[in-house]
């Protein structure tokens, strides 16, 4: 589905006509990313990160499949096979560093992509499904990255697995049995390592499938844009190819420069030295920390220091460990409800002054504080800081956003994307010449986009 003025694919040669009849793949590509997909003309660089995320997935799969040819998931040899890759496999060091840093860059790109979605309210109708699929992709990424980090079987691999799989025992009644069943043993060992390798190989292809659904869901309404005003006319859009293939190509170049700089000059900067020590179940590291992209959630997990008790009666309702687990998973589950929590009819943060304040002075500092506290030892003042930040995090999504969306006075929206880009007189002229049926100067904006006043 696309806009009425989208260019149509026209096969010219006998071969392309034959192909179009039997298996219209070129048509699919043309309509998805080619000249047949109109996109708002005013997208800024925050819209590059979706494509970059797809590129990161491809990099991870390609490097990962080649690494899997040389890696063995048995606790006796796993660490040694990774060293074999680093020392003996031709360019193995490059593959390994690209895969490890590729995971970090995948998360950097996806976090920027998510924050674009939060600021511009990309999750609102009609794009709720894209957002829900996106949260599913993020959960799959977290599972994949967690299991991937266990595979080298270093100290952090083992002890990180110990901590996170230990969380399952917090579930009442079924927790301990569930943990043993998942691990294939009482603590991470050969059984866990083998199944983590199997699942780590599988999940990226599941992610790829959900990404296809994610892009398909996007192409139904088409992309949003920085004004949040929906596309009305042909003059509001440009064909994806060549306009955004060119812009994304440039963005890809910048991304690759940053990525290869890390891979070739600072390959261990984002990792932990303890993971170059072979796993030793008898020796606990001084500080067990996950990779940086999990730090905010680790801080939320550790924020709950006391059980939930009924005071004076000494009855424990929920113990601290379970509270932490619920909050940690809950912090991502709240994102599923965003399309229904934030009911402001105005999408873009640019036109929502109160929302902007809470976004830049509330949510962003909170995420930074959570990340710092997640990497710090569980001592004061970090514990108190993480508790305040966790409280704000849940208040922001569950209490502040719904209230803001009711009471806020937004700024007036531009009539159309063309008006936002060109200014009102030119846009009216463009609308008259470019439109196909709708959108002349006297039209009222869509009622659903009227700011609540």
């Amino acid at each position: 589905m696309s806009f009425a003025w989208a260019k149509q694919y026209e096969p010219k040669t006998p071969l392309t006509k034959w192909l179009d009849e039997k298996l219209p793949l070129p048509r699919l590509v043309y309509n998805a990313v080619g000249a047949g997909y109109p996109v708002p003309r005013n997208l800024n660089y925050m819209w590059n990160f979706g494509v970059l995320a797809g590129v990161c997935l491809v990099i991870q799969i390609v490097t990962g499949v080649v690494l899997a040819m040389h890696y063995a998931a048995n606790e006796e040899v796993a660490f040694a096979t990774v060293e074999h890759i680093m020392r003996n496999v031709n360019y193995g060091w490059m593959l390994r560093y690209a895969h490890a840093n590729g995971a970090s860059f995948f998360f950097i790109v996806v976090y920027l992509h998510i924050f674009r979605g939060l600021f511009y309210s990309s999750y609102k109708a009609p794009r709720e499904m894209i957002w829900l699929l996106g949260v599913v992709i993020f959960l799959l990424m977290m599972a994949t990255a967690f299991m991937g980090y266990v595979l080298p079987w270093g100290q952090m691999s083992f002890w990180g697995a110990q901590v996170i799989t230990g969380l399952f025992s917090a579930i009442p009644f079924v927790g301990e049995g569930l943990q043993v069943w998942l691990l294939g043993g009482f603590s991470p060992g050969n059984a866990a390592l083998n199944r983590f390798f199997s699942l780590h190989f599988l999940l990226p292809f599941v992610i790829a499938g959900v990404v296809i659904l994610h892009i398909w869901a996007l192409h139904i309404p088409g992309s949003s844009n920085p004004t949040g005003v929906e596309v009305k006319n042909e003059s509001d859009t440009v064909p994806f190819h060549p306009y955004y293939t060119a812009k994304d190509g440039f963005g890809l170049g910048v991304f690759l420069i940053l990525f290869t700089f890390m891979v070739f000059f600072l390959p261990n900067a984002l990792g932990h030295p303890d993971n170059y020590i072979e796993a030793n179940p008898l020796s606990t590291p001084a500080h067990i920390v996950p990779e940086w992209y999990f730090l905010p959630f680790y801080a939320i997990l550790r924020a709950f220091t006391q059980d939930l008790t009924i005071p004076f009666l000494g009855i424990t309702l929920i113990d601290a460990k379970l509270l932490g687990v619920i909050a940690m998973f809950g912090s991502i589950l709240v994102w599923f409800f965003l399309p229904w929590l934030d009911k402001s009819p105005v999408r873009s943060g640019h036109y929502r002054p109160l929302f902007q304040k809470f976004f830049w002075f509330g949510l962003i500092p909170t995420m930074i504080v959570l990340m710092i506290c997640g990497g710090a030892p569980a001592e004061e003042p970090y514990v108190v800081m993480s508790q305040i930040a966790t409280a704000y995090y849940f208040m922001h999504f569950l209490v502040i956003l719904p209230i803001i969306s009711q009471i806020e006075v937004p700024k007036p929206l531009p009539f159309s994307i063309t008006e936002a880009v060109l200014g009102s007189d030119d846009s009216a002229a463009a609308a008259r010449t470019g439109s196909v049926g709708a959108g002349s100067k006297g039209d009222l904006p869509d009622a659903s986009l009227q700011p609540a006043e």
């Binding site: 005013n42 040694a80 060293e83 680093m86 020392r87 060091w93 490059m94 440009v238 306009y243 060119a246 812009k247 190509g249 440039f250 890809l252 170049g253 690759l256 420069i257 290869t260 700089f261 891979v263 070739f264 000059f265 390959p267 261990n268 030295p273 170059y276 020590i277 001084a286 924020a303 709950f304 220091t305 059980d307 939930l308 008790t309 601290a320 509270l323 909050a327 809950g330 409800f337 229904w340 929590l341 001592e379 004061e380 514990v383 108190v384 508790q387 966790t390 409280a391 849940f394 208040m395 999504f397 569950l398 209490v399 719904p402 209230i403 936002a420 880009v421 060109l422 200014g423 030119d426």
Partner: protein, 286 residues
């Protein structure tokens, strides 16, 4: 509507539980409770220091100082290999240190590695060949602990990557044994180094089980005639261990220059194409 109401209730509940049960007691403890006792070792600990002039492989244009690597290998062979293994390095890798094939064969044969008697099948030992990995000085972990006051000397292959600022750490640790600073000792009179441990301000808990391995200037007589002071030996073996941890370090940096130079060129072309494609679009008026 119900979702928002439910959301507000859940949000307030989580915040209330967190603040009332965890945050308030925590703040109370912070304000009125006893300050947690910090171990005295924190006061004595110092971060690793770089050798004078840094290492030859430092920085984006780093290179191996092959002569230094050979000296470092000599220190490892004559001092460290008594207790520490190097299991991820093979004798054939020594070619990268500038030794010829004949020298590597001879070097390997000077080491004794575990083997199996080809006639009887009994475990025995034999001279090394280039395809062998460096042997461990102990047959297993129990033997290693028994010989070293219950502390197992770690394998050194990856030591400079397994510690923060590893190359400088190894250099500082080996050249940094000594007595505690008297000024700090005056503030922590209860501090002591238990019997069997040795004080070293660069070790995280400042008391470590390894006796100073480098005790004398000239402990090793370098083949190339360089004066073997303790800092010199420490620096050389730290450089050698950086090579064992990452033999591809220099190749990585050199490849990196080509890759980034190409990408800067390609990205510039991509940028110019992007500008040309969008040239027809009227710019934003603001």
């Amino acid at each position: 509507m119900t979702i928002r109401l439910g959301g507000i209730i859940v949000g307030l509940a989580i915040t209330a539980i967190l603040v009332l049960w965890s945050l308030v007691p925590g703040l109370y403890n912070l304000a009125f409770g006893e300050a947690p006792e910090k171990a005295a070792s924190y006061a004595f600990y110092e971060h690793p220091k770089a050798p004078e002039g840094g290492f030859a492989f430092d920085g984006p244009m780093g290179k191996w100082d092959v002569a230094q690597l050979q000296r470092g290998y000599q220190v490892y062979k004559e001092v460290c290999s008594a207790c520490h293994g190097l299991k991820f390095v093979a004798f054939r890798n020594l070619r990268e240190l500038g030794y010829t094939e004949a020298e590597v064969d001879a070097e390997a044969a000077a080491w004794t590695v575990p083997g199996i008697d080809p006639q009887t099948g009994e475990t025995t030992t034999r001279p090394g060949t280039p395809t062998d990995q460096f042997p461990s000085p102990y047959p297993n972990a129990i033997a290693a602990a028994a010989a070293n006051n219950n502390a197992i000397p770690p394998d050194l292959s990856l030591m400079t990557k397994a510690r923060e600022d590893g190359s400088n750490y190894v250099y500082s640790l080996l050249s940094g044994y000594g007595e505690p600073d008297p000024e700090i000792l005056a503030k922590h009179p209860d501090f002591e180094t238990p019997v069997g441990l040795y004080f070293n301000k660069y070790f995280p808990t400042v008391n470590l089980a390894m006796a100073p391995p480098l005790v004398l200037d000239g402990q090793v007589t370098y083949a190339d005639g360089t004066e073997a002071t303790i800092p010199q030996m420490a620096e050389d073996v730290a450089a050698f261990l950086t090579w064992t941890a990452e033999p591809s370090l220099v190749q990585r940096k050199q490849t990196g220059w080509f890759v980034i130079a190409f990408l800067i060129f390609a990205t510039s072309l991509a940028f110019l194409s992007y500008k040309q494609v969008w040239a027809g679009m009227k710019p934003k008026k603001k």
